[in-house]
């Protein structure tokens, strides 16, 4: 499999505070990776760097082998889509109008959207299962619906790599499962996925790779079994091993397997 995105020794400081240290990893085309770590460990920053919104102070980011900063903005936008945590709109845009913005990297200054753009928007609405909401006002949607519309907006960019910042945050468990199903579906469609996930319960069975960020430490990468060991989580999340149900549960699991 070919390497879609590569980071090499990426450092980033935010207002003098060390956010990212030694982030080095490859994202294989077709993989589905979870990005986990403490609050403030730089998950959002890493995703923004991967999308080209932020530039690292030190280190290199390569998209399909080319340095990210050397690729024209529009071309990056046709390859990578970032679905941020928050989207607040000051005006009453409909879902369709919001998703149409995803075609921006394909539309010239003077030419309006054409047939291929309309088709791409329809397909994105379909994939994210929000076609029935297309004439609703975005600001009036529920949290789960908004999340899906944001994903549709990203899909309208026809990206090869979809970056999602906490897509399951603020969703009830039913909507979380729906969202994970959507990610599986998109992966089957050939889209590479990197999502920061807060709820570690969702990581185990659903992702092929786990990227772990700990404050001030180099980024660690491995399979879910390797990265979700209680000893590792304990340190990375600065959590006593006997206090959180997740850690107790994982410890139990590993003990059983060892036997």
């Amino acid at each position: 499999m070919s390497c879609l995105l590569r980071m090499e020794g990426v450092h980033f400081d935010y207002h003098g505070q060390k956010v990212l240290r030694q982030a080095t990893f490859d994202l294989e085309e077709g993989s589905c990776s979870a990005l986990i770590g403490l609050n403030g460990s730089g998950k959002t920053t890493l995703l923004r760097i991967a999308a080209g919104v932020l530039r690292p102070a030190v280190g290199a980011v390569r998209l399909l082998g080319r340095p990210l900063e050397a690729i024209p903005l529009k071309e990056v936008a046709r390859t990578v889509a970032l679905v941020p945590q928050q989207l607040e709109l000051p005006f009453d845009f409909t879902v369709q109008q919001v998703v149409e913005q995803g075609r921006t990297p394909y539309i010239g200054m003077l030419r309006g959207p054409g047939r291929s753009d309309r088709l791409a928007v329809d397909r994105a609405l379909d994939l994210a299962d929000v076609s029935s909401l297309r004439h609703r006002v975005f600001n009036e949607l529920s949290g789960g619906e908004k999340q899906r519309v944001k994903i549709a907006l990203g899909l309208a960019q026809k990206p090869r790599l979809l970056l999602l910042d906490e897509p399951t945050q603020n969703l009830d468990i039913g909507r979380q499962v729906e969202l994970i199903d959507l990610l599986h579906f998109l992966r089957a469609e050939g889209i590479t996925i990197l999502a920061s996930i807060h709820d570690l319960h969702l990581v185990d069975k659903n992702f092929s790779t786990v990227l772990l960020l700990s404050p001030g430490q180099p980024l660690a990468i491995g399979t879910p079994e390797q990265m979700l060991k209680p000893s590792i989580l304990e340190r990375a999340f600065q959590c006593p091993p006997d206090r959180h149900p997740l850690l107790i549960e994982r410890a139990e699991l590993y003990r059983r397997e060892a036997r």
Binding site: R48, A51, G52, V53, L73, K74, E75, V76, A77, R78, V80, A81, L82, P84, L87, E88, L89, P90, F91, D92, F93, T94, Q97, V98, Q101, G102, T104, P105, I107, M109, L110, G112, S132, L133, H135, R136, V137, N139, E140, Q157
Partner: protein, 358 residues
């Protein structure tokens, strides 16, 4: 007139709440163009000396020539003023639309955020010190009005934006401070003004009085506004994307800095044209885009022509009222609009507090 009712979700129960009755843009443009014609005619006919629309029509078709007196009133007094008020209205509505998109905020009006104040200040410098100068046929006064407006907008923008968001309170306070500073600095220009002509111009500017411009002045203003509108056209789609936020726009391939500077320059040109013809008129740039948005939705591509037409109609009607309501005295149109626009502004502010602040 074609009214399309957007059918919404599949469940009929929800339809009533989310149904949006939005007009088709083309129908609205046709309607507004007709309305603009009618408004022009009514405005021409109304005044101290009433000249009926029938007389005007008859003269236009060559049935019955106008009397010398009627000709004088129509072509030297009323027509220039009616056209000027149309240009002022279009300019304010358009710059309001642009700035509202740029600041991601429906209360960004060229007066409220200090753009008009900056233009006045620039124009004052022009009148007081460089009244004889001109560059490429544009008077120094007009150029300085544009520069003043653009510089103010750049300043207010850099003050009110932090981390990709507009702080509404900072935006309003910065605009307020700059407006007060500039309008009061006019006192100094009175000191320098020896002839007293600048003084009168200034007094009417501060209250928003639409004067009777020369035909050259009208021509230049119309050309500048047309240029600005055409230049704004390709930026409307960009404004839609900028509404998602700076970072979003960047990751969608928009060169945000470049777009922002273009919008500030074009919006300032529109403000400068309006201010040089009609002075400081508050809230017109607020009301017109807001009502247009209610009718058409927030897509800037559709809003641009509608705001231009509706702005012209709004100010023509307002100015006709201002000329006639207390005849034979005249109220500055800026004062008249302030009485309608003020409460409207407060209403928007209150509504905003509930939904999306900062």
């Amino acid at each position: 007139m074609a009214i399309e009712i957007a059918t919404v979700s599949n469940t009929p129960l929800e339809v009533s709440r989310h149904e949006r009755v939005r007009l088709s843009p083309l129908a609205l443009i046709v309607l507004l163009t007709v309305a603009l014609g009618v408004t022009t005619l009514v405005s021409l006919a109304t005044g101290a000396v009433s000249i009926s629309p029938r007389t005007i029509f008859a003269a236009m078709l060559g049935y019955q020539p106008l009397t010398e007196m009627q000709r004088l009133i129509l072509f030297h007094l009323r027509l220039p003023r009616v056209l000027a008020s149309g240009l002022v209205g279009s300019g304010l509505a358009l710059s309001g639309l642009l700035f509202q998109g740029l600041f991601r905020n429906p209360i960004a009006d060229p007066y409220v955020i200090g753009s008009s104040g900056g233009a006045i200040f620039g124009a004052c410098i022009g009148i007081s010190f460089f009244s004889q100068w001109s560059v490429f046929g544009f008077s120094a006064t007009a150029l300085l009005a544009f520069a003043g407006s653009a510089a103010t907008m750049a300043l207010v923008y850099s003050l009110a934006r932090s981390a990709g968001k507009t702080n509404v309170v900072t935006l309003l306070l910065a605009g307020f401070a700059i407006s007060i500073m500039f309008t009061n600095s006019s006192y100094f220009f009175e000191l320098f003004d020896k002839t007293g002509t600048g003084n009168r111009v200034l007094a009417s500017w501060l209250h928003g009085v639409i004067g009777i411009p020369s035909w050259t002045e009208l021509g230049v203003s119309a050309a500048l506004l047309a240029f600005a509108t055409v230049a704004a056209l390709p930026l409307m789609r960009t404004l839609n994307t900028l509404v998602l936020g700076d970072e979003y726009a960047h990751q969608l391939g928009i060169r945000v800095e470049y777009a922002r500077v273009s919008i500030i320059l074009i919006g300032s040109l529109m403000t400068a044209v309006s201010v040089s013809l009609g002075g400081m008129i508050a809230f017109a740039g607020l009301i017109v885009p807001h009502v247009a948005r209610l009718l058409l939705g927030p897509d800037h591509v559709r809003l641009l022509p509608v705001a231009a037409l509706a702005g012209a109609i709004f100010l023509m009607l307002a100015d006709t009222l201002a000329r006639t309501i207390f005849a034979p005295s005249e109220v500055p149109v800026g004062v008249l609009i302030a009485f309608v626009g003020g409460p409207f502004f407060l209403y928007l502010l209150r509504k905003m507090k509930r939904s999306y602040t900062v």
